[in-house]
Protein backbone atom coordinates (compact mmCIF):
# COMPACT_ATOMS: atom_id res chain seq x y z
CA UNK A 1 0.00 0.00 0.00
CA UNK A 2 1.29 3.45 -0.90
CA UNK A 3 1.74 5.53 2.22
CA UNK A 4 3.22 8.69 0.75
CA UNK A 5 3.37 9.87 -2.81
CA UNK A 6 5.19 12.72 -4.58
CA UNK A 7 3.84 13.52 -8.07
CA UNK A 8 5.84 15.92 -10.22
CA UNK A 9 6.64 18.10 -7.24
CA UNK A 10 8.41 21.35 -7.96
CA UNK A 11 9.82 23.60 -5.28
CA UNK A 12 11.56 26.92 -5.81
CA UNK A 13 13.36 29.09 -3.27
CA UNK A 14 14.44 32.62 -4.19
CA UNK A 15 14.01 31.85 -7.87
CA UNK A 16 16.17 28.72 -7.68
CA UNK A 17 14.68 25.30 -8.39
CA UNK A 18 15.27 23.03 -5.39
CA UNK A 19 13.07 20.13 -6.51
CA UNK A 20 12.23 19.63 -10.15
CA UNK A 21 9.40 17.30 -11.26
CA UNK A 22 10.20 15.05 -8.36
CA UNK A 23 8.13 11.87 -8.02
CA UNK A 24 8.28 8.77 -5.85
CA UNK A 25 6.04 6.50 -3.80
CA UNK A 26 6.76 5.30 -0.30
CA UNK A 27 5.17 1.97 0.59
CA UNK A 28 4.14 0.70 4.00
CA UNK A 29 7.01 -0.72 6.02
CA UNK A 30 9.80 0.26 3.64
CA UNK A 31 12.80 2.49 4.27
CA UNK A 32 13.53 4.73 1.34
CA UNK A 33 16.98 6.27 1.44
CA UNK A 34 17.46 9.59 -0.31
CA UNK A 35 21.10 9.66 -1.34
CA UNK A 36 22.72 12.72 -2.82
CA UNK A 37 25.24 15.46 -2.50
CA UNK A 38 24.73 18.56 -0.37
CA UNK A 39 22.12 20.80 -1.97
CA UNK A 40 20.56 18.03 -4.04
CA UNK A 41 17.13 18.52 -2.44
CA UNK A 42 17.10 15.72 0.16
CA UNK A 43 16.36 17.85 3.21
CA UNK A 44 13.86 19.94 1.24
CA UNK A 45 11.92 16.75 0.52
CA UNK A 46 11.59 16.03 4.24
CA UNK A 47 10.67 19.62 5.05
CA UNK A 48 7.95 19.55 2.39
CA UNK A 49 6.42 16.44 3.96
CA UNK A 50 6.33 18.22 7.34
CA UNK A 51 4.93 21.34 5.70
CA UNK A 52 7.85 23.35 7.00
CA UNK A 53 8.19 24.44 3.37
CA UNK A 54 5.62 24.83 0.63
CA UNK A 55 5.86 23.38 -2.85
CA UNK A 56 4.97 25.36 -5.96
CA UNK A 57 3.66 22.67 -8.32
CA UNK A 58 2.74 19.02 -8.30
CA UNK A 59 1.00 16.97 -5.65
CA UNK A 60 1.92 15.18 -2.45
CA UNK A 61 -0.38 12.60 -0.90
CA UNK A 62 0.04 11.54 2.73
CA UNK A 63 -2.04 8.53 3.80
CA UNK A 64 -4.04 9.01 0.61
CA UNK A 65 -4.94 12.64 1.35
CA UNK A 66 -3.60 15.73 -0.38
CA UNK A 67 -0.88 17.07 1.91
CA UNK A 68 -2.32 20.58 1.69
CA UNK A 69 -5.61 19.38 3.15
CA UNK A 70 -3.85 18.27 6.34
CA UNK A 71 -3.73 20.52 9.37
CA UNK A 72 0.06 21.09 9.67
CA UNK A 73 0.05 20.54 13.44
CA UNK A 74 -1.91 17.25 13.21
CA UNK A 75 0.31 16.14 10.33
CA UNK A 76 3.55 16.82 12.21
CA UNK A 77 2.31 14.92 15.25
CA UNK A 78 1.89 11.85 13.03
CA UNK A 79 5.47 12.04 11.84
CA UNK A 80 8.66 11.32 13.80
CA UNK A 81 11.57 13.53 12.74
CA UNK A 82 15.23 13.03 13.59
CA UNK A 83 17.85 15.57 12.54
CA UNK A 84 21.63 15.64 12.73
CA UNK A 85 21.65 18.43 15.34
CA UNK A 86 19.04 16.45 17.34
CA UNK A 87 17.43 19.68 18.59
CA UNK A 88 16.68 18.46 22.11
CA UNK A 89 15.17 21.18 24.27
CA UNK A 90 18.20 22.14 26.42
CA UNK A 91 16.11 23.22 29.42
CA UNK A 92 14.17 19.95 29.61
CA UNK A 93 15.29 16.63 31.04
CA UNK A 94 15.68 13.56 28.84
CA UNK A 95 12.31 12.31 30.09
CA UNK A 96 10.56 15.58 29.28
CA UNK A 97 12.13 15.64 25.82
CA UNK A 98 10.98 12.13 24.97
CA UNK A 99 7.54 12.80 26.45
CA UNK A 100 7.04 15.86 24.23
CA UNK A 101 4.85 14.31 21.54
CA UNK A 102 2.82 12.08 23.92
CA UNK A 103 2.12 15.22 25.97
CA UNK A 104 1.05 17.10 22.83
CA UNK A 105 -1.26 14.14 22.11
CA UNK A 106 -2.66 14.49 25.64
CA UNK A 107 -1.62 11.03 26.85
CA UNK A 108 -2.17 10.36 30.57
CA UNK A 109 0.93 10.76 32.74
CA UNK A 110 1.28 7.05 33.62
CA UNK A 111 1.13 5.96 30.00
CA UNK A 112 3.66 8.65 29.01
CA UNK A 113 6.11 7.65 31.74
CA UNK A 114 5.78 3.98 30.81
CA UNK A 115 6.41 4.88 27.16
CA UNK A 116 9.52 6.92 28.03
CA UNK A 117 10.89 4.04 30.11
CA UNK A 118 10.21 1.56 27.31
CA UNK A 119 11.86 3.75 24.66
CA UNK A 120 14.93 4.49 26.77
CA UNK A 121 15.44 0.75 27.25
CA UNK A 122 14.96 0.19 23.51
CA UNK A 123 17.67 2.70 22.61
CA UNK A 124 19.99 1.18 25.20
CA UNK A 125 19.86 3.86 27.90
CA UNK A 126 18.59 2.72 31.32
CA UNK A 127 15.69 4.84 32.56
CA UNK A 128 17.06 5.19 36.09
CA UNK A 129 20.39 6.57 34.84
CA UNK A 130 19.19 8.82 32.06
CA UNK A 131 15.59 10.01 32.55
CA UNK A 132 16.47 12.98 34.75
CA UNK A 133 19.66 14.03 32.95
CA UNK A 134 19.85 17.28 31.05
CA UNK A 135 20.87 17.15 27.36
CA UNK A 136 24.20 18.90 28.01
CA UNK A 137 25.20 15.98 30.23
CA UNK A 138 24.95 13.53 27.32
CA UNK A 139 27.46 12.48 24.66
CA UNK A 140 26.69 13.05 20.97
CA UNK A 141 25.66 9.42 20.53
CA UNK A 142 23.43 9.47 23.60
CA UNK A 143 21.76 12.66 22.40
CA UNK A 144 21.04 11.07 19.05
CA UNK A 145 19.55 8.01 20.78
CA UNK A 146 17.26 10.35 22.72
CA UNK A 147 16.40 12.05 19.42
CA UNK A 148 15.37 8.67 17.95
CA UNK A 149 13.40 7.80 21.10
CA UNK A 150 11.64 11.16 20.96
CA UNK A 151 10.69 10.61 17.31
CA UNK A 152 9.20 7.19 18.15
CA UNK A 153 7.41 8.29 21.32
CA UNK A 154 4.07 9.28 19.83
CA UNK A 155 3.73 6.09 17.73
CA UNK A 156 4.29 7.95 14.47
CA UNK A 157 2.87 6.76 11.17
CA UNK A 158 6.02 7.88 9.32
CA UNK A 159 9.63 8.43 10.33
CA UNK A 160 11.94 10.97 8.72
CA UNK A 161 15.68 10.89 9.35
CA UNK A 162 17.79 13.78 8.11
CA UNK A 163 21.42 12.62 8.21
CA UNK A 164 20.95 11.67 11.86
CA UNK A 165 24.27 9.88 12.28
CA UNK A 166 26.38 12.22 10.15
CA UNK A 167 28.15 13.91 13.06
CA UNK A 168 28.92 10.75 15.04
CA UNK A 169 32.25 8.92 15.29
CA UNK A 170 32.44 5.74 13.14
CA UNK A 171 31.94 3.30 16.02
CA UNK A 172 28.95 5.11 17.49
CA UNK A 173 27.59 5.51 13.99
CA UNK A 174 27.82 1.76 13.37
CA UNK A 175 26.12 1.11 16.69
CA UNK A 176 23.32 3.56 15.83
CA UNK A 177 22.84 1.94 12.42
CA UNK A 178 22.43 -1.48 14.09
CA UNK A 179 19.96 0.05 16.48
CA UNK A 180 18.06 1.61 13.58
CA UNK A 181 17.71 -1.82 11.93
CA UNK A 182 16.53 -3.38 15.19
CA UNK A 183 13.96 -0.64 15.75
CA UNK A 184 12.77 -0.93 12.16
CA UNK A 185 12.11 -4.64 12.69
CA UNK A 186 10.19 -3.83 15.81
CA UNK A 187 8.11 -0.87 14.61
CA UNK A 188 7.77 -1.54 10.86
CA UNK A 189 6.93 2.11 10.27
CA UNK A 190 7.64 3.50 6.78
CA UNK A 191 10.70 5.72 6.87
CA UNK A 192 12.66 8.11 4.69
CA UNK A 193 16.34 8.30 5.53
CA UNK A 194 18.50 11.07 4.11
CA UNK A 195 22.24 10.52 3.83
CA UNK A 196 25.20 11.28 1.60
CA UNK A 197 26.95 8.07 2.62
CA UNK A 198 26.29 5.25 0.16
CA UNK A 199 27.52 2.63 2.65
CA UNK A 200 24.87 3.79 5.11
CA UNK A 201 22.27 3.85 2.33
CA UNK A 202 23.01 0.24 1.42
CA UNK A 203 22.95 -0.85 5.07
CA UNK A 204 19.69 0.81 6.01
CA UNK A 205 17.58 1.24 2.88
CA UNK A 206 15.13 -1.17 1.36
CA UNK A 207 15.10 1.18 -1.63
CA UNK A 208 17.56 3.87 -2.58
CA UNK A 209 16.87 7.02 -4.58
CA UNK A 210 19.70 9.18 -5.87
CA UNK A 211 19.00 12.90 -6.09
CA UNK A 212 20.96 15.37 -8.14
CA UNK A 213 20.08 19.03 -8.62
CA UNK A 214 16.56 18.46 -7.32
CA UNK A 215 15.83 15.63 -9.71
CA UNK A 216 15.55 11.92 -9.21
CA UNK A 217 18.57 10.48 -11.01
CA UNK A 218 18.07 6.84 -10.14
CA UNK A 219 15.89 4.72 -7.88
CA UNK A 220 16.19 1.02 -7.20
CA UNK A 221 15.91 -1.61 -4.51
CA UNK A 222 18.97 -2.19 -2.36
CA UNK A 223 20.03 -5.24 -4.37
CA UNK A 224 19.46 -3.60 -7.76
CA UNK A 225 21.37 -0.51 -6.71
CA UNK A 226 24.68 -2.32 -7.25
CA UNK A 227 23.86 -2.39 -10.97
CA UNK A 228 23.21 1.34 -11.21
CA UNK A 229 24.24 2.81 -14.55
CA UNK A 230 23.60 6.52 -14.00
CA UNK A 231 26.71 8.69 -13.42
CA UNK A 232 25.98 9.98 -9.89
CA UNK A 233 24.83 6.58 -8.59
CA UNK A 234 27.96 5.02 -10.06
CA UNK A 235 30.12 7.76 -8.55
CA UNK A 236 28.59 7.00 -5.15
CA UNK A 237 29.27 3.28 -5.58
CA UNK A 238 32.89 4.06 -6.45
CA UNK A 239 33.29 5.82 -3.09
CA UNK A 240 32.73 2.39 -1.49
CA UNK A 241 35.86 1.10 -3.18
CA UNK A 242 37.80 4.09 -1.80
CA UNK A 243 36.50 3.88 1.76
CA UNK A 244 36.31 0.08 1.80
CA UNK A 245 32.84 0.36 3.33
CA UNK A 246 30.84 -2.78 2.69
CA UNK A 247 27.12 -3.00 3.21
Amino acid sequence: MIFLSFRDVECRRNGRIILDHFSFDLHDGETLVLLGRSGSGKTTTLRLILRLLNYDNGEIFFEGRDLRSWNPIALRRRVGYVIQDVGLLPHWTVEQNIALVPKLHGWPEDKTRWRVRELLEQVGLPYEDFAQRMPHHLSGGQRQRIGVARALAGNPALLLFDEPFGALDPLTRLDMQQQFLALREQYRVPAIFVTHDVGEALKLGTRIAVLENGQMEFMASRDEFWNATTPIAQAFLKTLAVTGDVA
Binding site: Y81, D85, V86, G87, P90, M134, G147
Partner: protein, 210 residues
Protein backbone atom coordinates in the same frame (compact mmCIF):
# COMPACT_ATOMS: atom_id res chain seq x y z
CA UNK B 1 23.84 70.47 61.78
CA UNK B 2 21.67 69.63 64.76
CA UNK B 3 19.92 66.34 65.46
CA UNK B 4 16.45 67.68 64.62
CA UNK B 5 17.53 68.72 61.12
CA UNK B 6 19.19 65.33 60.57
CA UNK B 7 16.07 63.51 61.80
CA UNK B 8 13.86 65.55 59.48
CA UNK B 9 16.23 64.90 56.59
CA UNK B 10 16.24 61.15 57.31
CA UNK B 11 12.43 61.07 57.54
CA UNK B 12 12.11 62.98 54.26
CA UNK B 13 14.68 60.68 52.61
CA UNK B 14 12.77 57.60 53.79
CA UNK B 15 9.44 58.83 52.44
CA UNK B 16 11.00 60.01 49.17
CA UNK B 17 12.85 56.68 48.78
CA UNK B 18 9.53 54.82 48.95
CA UNK B 19 8.06 57.23 46.40
CA UNK B 20 11.17 56.74 44.22
CA UNK B 21 10.79 52.94 44.39
CA UNK B 22 7.10 53.23 43.54
CA UNK B 23 7.79 55.39 40.44
CA UNK B 24 10.62 53.07 39.31
CA UNK B 25 8.60 49.89 39.64
CA UNK B 26 5.48 51.32 37.98
CA UNK B 27 7.55 52.64 35.05
CA UNK B 28 9.78 49.58 34.66
CA UNK B 29 6.77 47.28 35.17
CA UNK B 30 4.78 48.89 32.38
CA UNK B 31 7.90 49.07 30.17
CA UNK B 32 8.43 45.34 30.77
CA UNK B 33 4.84 44.49 29.83
CA UNK B 34 4.96 46.65 26.70
CA UNK B 35 8.55 45.78 25.74
CA UNK B 36 8.16 42.00 26.10
CA UNK B 37 4.75 41.93 24.35
CA UNK B 38 5.84 44.12 21.44
CA UNK B 39 9.16 42.22 21.30
CA UNK B 40 7.36 38.88 21.01
CA UNK B 41 5.09 40.32 18.31
CA UNK B 42 8.19 41.72 16.59
CA UNK B 43 9.66 38.22 16.29
CA UNK B 44 6.51 37.18 14.39
CA UNK B 45 5.95 40.34 12.35
CA UNK B 46 9.10 41.94 10.87
CA UNK B 47 7.48 45.39 10.33
CA UNK B 48 6.53 45.52 14.04
CA UNK B 49 10.15 44.71 14.91
CA UNK B 50 11.49 47.40 12.58
CA UNK B 51 9.19 50.23 13.65
CA UNK B 52 9.16 49.44 17.37
CA UNK B 53 12.96 49.29 17.54
CA UNK B 54 13.24 52.53 15.56
CA UNK B 55 10.77 54.23 17.94
CA UNK B 56 12.52 52.97 21.09
CA UNK B 57 15.90 53.97 19.65
CA UNK B 58 14.72 57.52 18.95
CA UNK B 59 13.16 57.80 22.42
CA UNK B 60 16.49 56.76 23.93
CA UNK B 61 18.42 59.48 22.11
CA UNK B 62 16.38 62.35 23.61
CA UNK B 63 18.09 63.78 26.71
CA UNK B 64 15.95 63.07 29.77
CA UNK B 65 15.63 66.72 30.81
CA UNK B 66 14.47 67.63 27.31
CA UNK B 67 11.99 64.73 27.28
CA UNK B 68 10.46 65.91 30.58
CA UNK B 69 10.27 69.41 29.08
CA UNK B 70 8.62 68.19 25.86
CA UNK B 71 5.90 66.42 27.80
CA UNK B 72 4.85 69.46 29.87
CA UNK B 73 2.65 71.11 27.18
CA UNK B 74 1.07 67.86 25.94
CA UNK B 75 -2.52 67.48 27.18
CA UNK B 76 -3.77 64.30 28.89
CA UNK B 77 -0.49 62.35 28.88
CA UNK B 78 1.85 65.23 29.68
CA UNK B 79 1.94 68.10 32.13
CA UNK B 80 3.60 68.35 35.49
CA UNK B 81 3.80 65.52 37.99
CA UNK B 82 4.04 61.76 38.17
CA UNK B 83 2.03 60.89 35.06
CA UNK B 84 4.33 62.67 32.61
CA UNK B 85 7.39 61.42 34.48
CA UNK B 86 6.24 57.80 34.39
CA UNK B 87 5.45 58.09 30.68
CA UNK B 88 8.92 59.32 29.81
CA UNK B 89 10.55 56.76 32.13
CA UNK B 90 8.63 54.02 30.30
CA UNK B 91 9.93 55.33 26.97
CA UNK B 92 13.50 55.26 28.31
CA UNK B 93 13.19 51.76 29.74
CA UNK B 94 11.63 50.35 26.59
CA UNK B 95 14.71 49.92 24.39
CA UNK B 96 16.78 47.42 26.43
CA UNK B 97 13.72 45.31 27.20
CA UNK B 98 12.40 45.34 23.62
CA UNK B 99 15.81 44.71 22.07
CA UNK B 100 16.71 41.92 24.47
CA UNK B 101 13.33 40.23 24.01
CA UNK B 102 13.79 40.20 20.24
CA UNK B 103 17.44 39.13 20.49
CA UNK B 104 16.67 36.44 23.06
CA UNK B 105 13.91 34.86 21.01
CA UNK B 106 15.63 35.10 17.64
CA UNK B 107 18.83 33.64 19.12
CA UNK B 108 17.17 30.35 20.09
CA UNK B 109 19.10 27.54 18.38
CA UNK B 110 17.37 26.99 14.99
CA UNK B 111 17.72 23.20 15.43
CA UNK B 112 15.80 23.40 18.71
CA UNK B 113 13.10 25.62 17.23
CA UNK B 114 12.84 23.51 14.07
CA UNK B 115 12.53 20.24 15.93
CA UNK B 116 9.89 21.69 18.28
CA UNK B 117 7.83 22.86 15.28
CA UNK B 118 8.40 19.56 13.48
CA UNK B 119 7.16 17.64 16.55
CA UNK B 120 3.84 19.47 16.20
CA UNK B 121 4.01 22.37 18.65
CA UNK B 122 1.63 25.22 17.95
CA UNK B 123 3.07 28.75 17.81
CA UNK B 124 1.81 29.41 21.33
CA UNK B 125 3.38 26.18 22.66
CA UNK B 126 6.63 27.03 20.90
CA UNK B 127 6.65 30.45 22.53
CA UNK B 128 5.66 29.21 25.98
CA UNK B 129 7.71 26.01 26.22
CA UNK B 130 10.73 26.79 24.06
CA UNK B 131 11.35 30.39 23.07
CA UNK B 132 10.45 32.25 26.28
CA UNK B 133 12.25 29.88 28.67
CA UNK B 134 15.39 29.91 26.50
CA UNK B 135 15.22 33.68 25.95
CA UNK B 136 14.43 34.39 29.62
CA UNK B 137 18.03 35.12 30.72
CA UNK B 138 18.48 37.63 27.86
CA UNK B 139 15.08 39.26 28.46
CA UNK B 140 15.84 39.40 32.16
CA UNK B 141 19.21 41.07 31.48
CA UNK B 142 17.31 43.75 29.51
CA UNK B 143 14.89 44.30 32.38
CA UNK B 144 17.85 44.56 34.77
CA UNK B 145 19.52 47.26 32.65
CA UNK B 146 16.20 49.12 32.32
CA UNK B 147 15.51 48.98 36.07
CA UNK B 148 18.92 50.29 37.11
CA UNK B 149 18.82 53.07 34.48
CA UNK B 150 15.29 54.03 35.56
CA UNK B 151 16.41 54.42 39.18
CA UNK B 152 18.92 57.05 38.01
CA UNK B 153 16.59 58.84 35.58
CA UNK B 154 13.78 58.99 38.16
CA UNK B 155 15.98 61.33 40.20
CA UNK B 156 15.85 63.82 37.30
CA UNK B 157 12.04 63.44 37.08
CA UNK B 158 11.81 65.57 40.22
CA UNK B 159 12.35 68.57 37.93
CA UNK B 160 8.76 68.19 36.69
CA UNK B 161 7.35 67.51 40.13
CA UNK B 162 7.33 63.71 40.05
CA UNK B 163 8.71 63.40 43.59
CA UNK B 164 11.24 60.78 44.64
CA UNK B 165 14.80 61.22 45.85
CA UNK B 166 15.47 63.84 43.17
CA UNK B 167 13.50 66.29 45.34
CA UNK B 168 16.26 66.21 47.95
CA UNK B 169 18.98 66.56 45.30
CA UNK B 170 17.25 69.54 43.68
CA UNK B 171 16.59 71.13 47.07
CA UNK B 172 20.23 70.61 48.05
CA UNK B 173 21.45 72.10 44.77
CA UNK B 174 19.22 75.16 45.19
CA UNK B 175 20.39 75.81 48.76
CA UNK B 176 23.97 74.60 48.16
CA UNK B 177 23.46 72.01 50.90
CA UNK B 178 25.76 69.02 50.35
CA UNK B 179 24.09 67.05 53.13
CA UNK B 180 20.74 67.30 51.40
CA UNK B 181 22.23 66.35 48.01
CA UNK B 182 23.85 63.29 49.60
CA UNK B 183 20.61 62.39 51.39
CA UNK B 184 19.04 62.08 47.95
CA UNK B 185 21.97 60.70 45.95
CA UNK B 186 23.22 58.01 48.34
CA UNK B 187 19.91 56.14 48.79
CA UNK B 188 19.38 56.34 45.00
CA UNK B 189 22.82 54.81 44.39
CA UNK B 190 22.28 52.19 47.10
CA UNK B 191 18.90 51.31 45.60
CA UNK B 192 20.46 50.90 42.15
CA UNK B 193 23.21 48.65 43.52
CA UNK B 194 20.76 46.57 45.58
CA UNK B 195 18.35 46.06 42.67
CA UNK B 196 21.23 45.21 40.34
CA UNK B 197 22.60 42.69 42.84
CA UNK B 198 19.24 40.99 43.35
CA UNK B 199 18.62 40.83 39.60
CA UNK B 200 22.12 39.37 39.06
CA UNK B 201 21.34 36.60 41.55
CA UNK B 202 18.06 35.75 39.86
CA UNK B 203 19.74 35.88 36.45
CA UNK B 204 22.40 33.39 37.57
CA UNK B 205 19.73 30.88 38.60
CA UNK B 206 18.23 31.08 35.13
CA UNK B 207 21.34 30.28 33.16
CA UNK B 208 20.81 27.32 30.85
CA UNK B 209 23.66 25.19 29.55
CA UNK B 210 23.71 24.98 25.75
Amino acid sequence: MDTLVLKTLARDAGALLLEHIWIVFISAGIATLVGVSVGILGTRRPPVRRYSLAFANVAQTIPSLAMFGFLIPIPLIGGIGKRAAILSLILYALLPILRNTITGITSVDPAVRDSAIAMGMTDWQLLRHVELPLAAPTIFAGIRIALVATIGTTAIAATIGAGGLGVLILRGLASVNTMEILAGALPAAALALAVDGIMALVERRWRIEP
